[in-house]
């Protein structure tokens, strides 16, 4: 059984088929890249899987459970976390607090024990903090030390993206959805993140699905590449198979040539 599987998934926005009868699957332990021209429906696919929007028809199976109709927080509890194309941090919270919110679904204390400050509550708060720091430490020294107490809004653009990934990691997901994680990063930062994505799978054991425009990143990390166009899957396979696929090249012509083929 694949970790994630969609069957006939369709989402229509006022006559426009953003996702059109999409069948795909992601196996446990894989790194899958989703590529495609702007407006192909990539982000919409993430929005559907994470429960932000509901499909018009079709199924989304995660470990055999249909996610359609579930609320976003329920889907997160099942083990799917994501980042956003346009970063969505809690701007006024500190770096550490942002990551601690990631632990929310793994917390059980509740308001009563919080008010009474029971030993169980204190121990849990400590564990939450430790796990949040662990996730932040994955990015070397960039998000720890004095940065822990900085509000998110003072961070550099690249650090915001990193923090968003750390926050998603702190939810202890099985499947991590990354929406254009290197957008806006310089080549050095992009290279660093590419290595990190591989480590996320190898060391932390996450299954990863990423939307990516930078073909060096796609080539660098993907076990498998899926190309969408007009909400449909037009190609699937290894990086080379997809990058040399005629329909893919055609889809990209006039928009943005596939780099580095």
């Amino acid at each position: 059984m694949p970790l994630l599987e969609t069957q006939g998934l369709t989402k229509v926005f006022g006559g426009l088929h953003a996702i059109d009868d999409l069948d795909l699957h992601i196996e446990e332990g894989e790194i899958v890249s989703v590529i495609g021209p702007n407006g192909a429906g990539k982000t919409t696919f993430f929005n559907l899987v994470s429960g932000m929007i509901q499909p018009d028809s079709g199924k989304i199976l995660f470990e055999g459970i249909d996610l359609v109709g579930l609320a976003p927080h329920q889907i997160l509890e099942l083990g799917i976390a994501r980042t956003f194309q346009n970063v969505r941090l809690f701007q006024n919270m500190t770096v550490l607090e942002n990551a601690m919110v990631g632990q929310h679904a793994r917390t059980r204390s509740g308001p009563i024990r919080a008010i009474l400050r029971t030993p169980g509550f204190r121990a849990e708060e400590e564990a939450i903090r430790r796990k949040a720091e662990e996730a932040l430490a994955f990015f070397g020294t960039r998000l720890i030390g004095y940065r822990l107490e900085q509000p998110a809004f003072v961070l550099s653009y690249a650090n915001r993206r990193r923090l968003e990934i750390a926050r998603a990691m702190a939810t202890e997901p099985k499947l991590l959805l990354l929406d254009e994680p290197t957008a806006g990063m310089n080549p050095r930062e992009t290279l660093e993140l590419t290595e990190l994505i591989a480590r996320l799978r190898d060391e932390k054991g996450f299954t990863i699905c990423l939307i990516e425009h930078d073909m060096r990143v796609v080539r660098g990390v993907s076990d498998r590449v899926i190309c969408l166009d007009y909400g449909r899957k037009i190609a699937e396979g290894t990086y080379h198979e997809v990058a040399t696929n005629e329909r893919v090249i055609e889809a990209y012509l006039g928009t943005k040539a596939v780099e580095g083929v």
Binding site: S50, E77, V101, G102, H104, P111, E125, E126, E149
Partner: protein, 376 residues
Amino acid sequence: MSGKYVNDYRQDLRLFRTTPKKVLLVVGLLAAIALPYLIQIQWTPPFGFPWKAWAKAINLALIWSIGAAAFNLLLGYTGQISTAHAAFLILGALTGAVLGEASAGLGWSFWLVLPLGGVVGAVIGALVGLPALRVRGLYLFMATLAVHFAAILGFKMYQVAQVGFTGVRYFPPEVPSFLHWLPFVTPDANGQFLIQGDFRWYFVLVPITLGCLLFMVNVLRSAEGRAFVAIRDNDVAASLLGINVARTKLLAFAVSSAMVTISGVLLSFFVTARSDESWSIEIILDVAIMTVVGGFSTIVGGVFGAFFFFMTPVLFNWIRDLPLFDRFTFIDTYGSQIDLAIFGVAIVLVLVFKPEGLAGVWEDTKRYFRTWPFRY
């Protein structure tokens, strides 16, 4: 950045973690105990400074601190604007009138009615929060405004049916008998242990207010509190991080409303009389003034704001009675309008110079002493 780096989170979890803070706590407590004794001293300060008038202002400020802090919890932390806030003050007064030792009440003990008020407030607060699941911002403002008038209507209907137009009278509560042995608990002239007068009320209000504030601070220093702020900052991201947005909003409404209802019970027993005329729509404005001047998104801001709100008029009453101002008769004619204008100016000053409010000034002062003698 604070001057001290905390390595041990177990320490970080405590509210008063350093020795200077503990010393400050003890000094503060001693000062709090000494204060009403000082006010009781028979003494006529120069220029007729209103020594005695502080007693009532302080007690009112203690009661309203709870409400202002609770408003901050809802608006400042969770980002939910609710005009139903003052309605829970009325609900507290109604709970006290129906169940407590009041004109037509059931005569239950104040000490039972007080926490019951919290329970009633929490339940009704969660119900009032339901529109917040659908609408936000200005729409929520309007939707909750109706609750205020419903509460006034409810109070008036009860009053007319049970008491008459004179309004509800609340009788002084008694110190519970298991506390009579305490050295500072003494019977009054009739041999009773009734809580009345500013001096006695002060010692009842200080622990209750502190308890309520601690309650809110503890909620905020937990996963629930982080969820409140997460919803305010980005509710979409919050829900995708496993936060049940609906449940969390209702929790914020419940906690905040419970606190205000408790302060409503306190207020009515403290001022001893309430009628449907006691609740103008201005109360909402008053709480907003306290919150803005005191400082958003801090519990202590509500306390500063409430004290500012009740102490300033006392001060200005005194100033305008000074011989210096005798020639300006308009000052007496428009006294309360001038008070309002002063609040208006204070709000503008805060917004322009210190958006963090008085709580921000307090933080600056603390930082100044912590890093003294190094300025940066």
